[in-house]
């Protein structure tokens, strides 16, 4: 397991991710950012600010679309999904903090399609920690790292309610 003290700076990674996304928005200005609750939304909002066109940001809460609902039930704090515009026919960048099994992405894609049929969907993640269980890959990724199954990689925001709060990685044993 990587040294906890040597976790990369999430803020810098977001800048790098935004930079790699810049050509997409130059090519297709109608592109929409959709963050996956909760970390993905924070990142999508940051990226929007960093890009000169400040593209619109939406959010999806995948609680109603999880494939482990019958085992785990409903999470007690389901957030409203807000897809800001009509996404039909538009390119979408789906933003998440950590890509792991791929199940969250699948659920998010399912939910997204309930709102309309985007022309393309690309996936941007801050970290890809390996361990995929579905044929899903990130199109944009700031940090590739291989973590054991028991590791829990979490993005936190301090203070949590402040959109300008400091984003940091933490890692612990599950």
């Amino acid at each position: 397991m990587p040294d906890l003290k040597k976790l990369p700076d999430a803020e810098q990674q977001i800048m790098a991710l935004a930079e790699s996304l810049r050509p997409v928005f130059e090519r297709a200005p109608e592109t929409v950012l959709i963050g996956v609750f909760t970390g993905g939304v924070w990142i999508a909002e940051r990226i929007s600010q960093l890009l000169p066109s400040h593209p619109p940001v939406g959010s999806v809460d995948i609680s109603f679309y999880r494939d482990d609902f019958s085992e785990r039930g409903l999470s007690p704090n389901v957030q409203p999904t807000t897809v800001p515009l009509d996404i039909a026919g538009k390119p979408v960048i789906l933003v998440d903090d950590v890509l792991y099994t791929g199940r969250t992405t699948r659920a998010a894609l399912n939910e997204l399609f309930d709102y309309g049929r985007p022309s393309t969907v690309q996936l941007a993640v801050l970290a890809d920690r390996g361990g995929r269980q579905l044929p899903i890959a990130a199109d944009f990724c700031a940090w590739r790292v291989s973590l054991p199954e028991n590791a829990n990689l979490v993005l936190t925001r301090t203070p949590v309610d402040d959109p300008k709060g400091q984003l940091t990685w933490s890692l612990d044993d599950a």
Partner: protein, 321 residues
């Protein structure tokens, strides 16, 4: 005695009554309801939570209205819904309630939504499922006799919380036929647990159940004293067949004593909301002028009802609250 709607760990696995639910459980259900509000606003009004599940609406007492709200809720969760109008089907042929349940279990039902004219009928089904080891099937009480109508109670609580923010310090009055009202009983238990300051029941003695004070309510014979400083006023439906006879002399006299009018509502707080479980008898328990005024939140109740029923179904199917 173990509350039959809970499992051995205290998780909610059936919804039979608002009585016996903790404040945390009620709050969790209301919070979950809030997250489903948005789903009905979308173009695509479905989420796949209950995909592949079979929900059987067992309505032994006819109510197209309530049955429809459960049907919509189940369908928005992507469940398969089977409506059985039991008043005209098997029981008429002599099949017992539990025979019917066994048959539907054999068809791999996942959830029963039960309405029955006998208080306690859903409890009998739950008892039977437990006895026969079918603990994976959930039962939702959609109204049993005079006893309970917990999803109505929950949607009423949702409505109150939506408009009033919190239950602390609230004065709530329930007006009219308390005796036959399962809605009143469900509201009373929930309000009590959620911490309402005062719960009043208002009506003539013929329509107030014996020793109802034991449930933690004040009894008012007089509408004005019952409405005084109320934040929430809930008018109850007066069944047509009870308007004349030994319970009441006439609908007119009832309206004169207990009908909600703007004039009478002056006793309540200026921002008091008016609720009604529907369907309304305009000019009997409530004036049209009140029912159509901005303080009436009767249609929002219906909207919230769908979300609350989605919440209940999801929470039960997802392992309880």
């Amino acid at each position: 005695m173990l509350d039959p709607q809970l499992d051995a760990d205290g998780n909610l696995i059936h919804l039979l009554s608002t009585e016996g639910l903790s404040k945390e459980q009620l709050t969790r259900l209301l919070d979950t309801g809030a997250s489903f509000i948005g789903v009905s606003d979308r173009d695509m009004k479905k989420v796949p939570l209950l995909r592949g599940k079979s929900v059987f609406n067992l309505f032994f007492e006819n109510s197209t209205r309530t049955r429809t709200t459960f049907e919509i809720a189940a369908k928005r969760l992507s469940a398969d819904v089977i409506n059985l109008n039991m008043s005209t089907s098997s029981t008429a042929k002599g099949e017992t309630l539990l025979d019917t349940v066994d048959n539907l279990c054999a068809m791999h039902a996942d959830m029963f939504v039960v309405r029955h004219e006998s208080s306690g009928a859903p409890h009998l089904i739950v008892d039977h499922l437990r006895r026969t080891g079918r603990n994976d099937i959930h039962v939702i009480n959609a109204g049993d006799g005079r006893h309970s109508h917990p999803t109505q109670g929950l949607l009423d609580m949702y409505t109150i919380r939506h408009y009033k923010g919190d239950f602390e310090g609230l004065n709530v009055a329930l007006i009219g036929d308390i005796l036959h009202s399962r809605v009143a009983r469900s509201d009373i238990h929930a309000l009590k647990t959620l911490g309402a300051a005062s719960i009043r029941v208002v009506g003539p003695q013929t329509l107030i159940p014996t020793d109802i004070e034991a449930l933690g309510v004040e009894v008012h014979r007089d509408l004005e004293s019952g409405l005084k400083d109320c934040d929430v006023v809930i008018a109850l439906r007066l069944q047509r067949e009870r308007m004349t006879g030994a319970l009441l002399p006439s609908a007119t006299e009832f309206h004169g004593l207990y009908g909600l009018t703007h004039e009478r509502l002056k006793a309540a707080k200026p921002d008091a909301i008016v609720m009604h479980p529907g369907p309304m008898n305009r000019g009997v328990e409530i004036d049209s002028a009140v029912a159509d005024s901005p303080r009436a939140v009767i249609l929002p109740q219906v909207t919230f009802g769908i979300a609350m029923r989605m919440a209940v179904m999801s929470v039960l199917a997802g392992g309880g609250a």
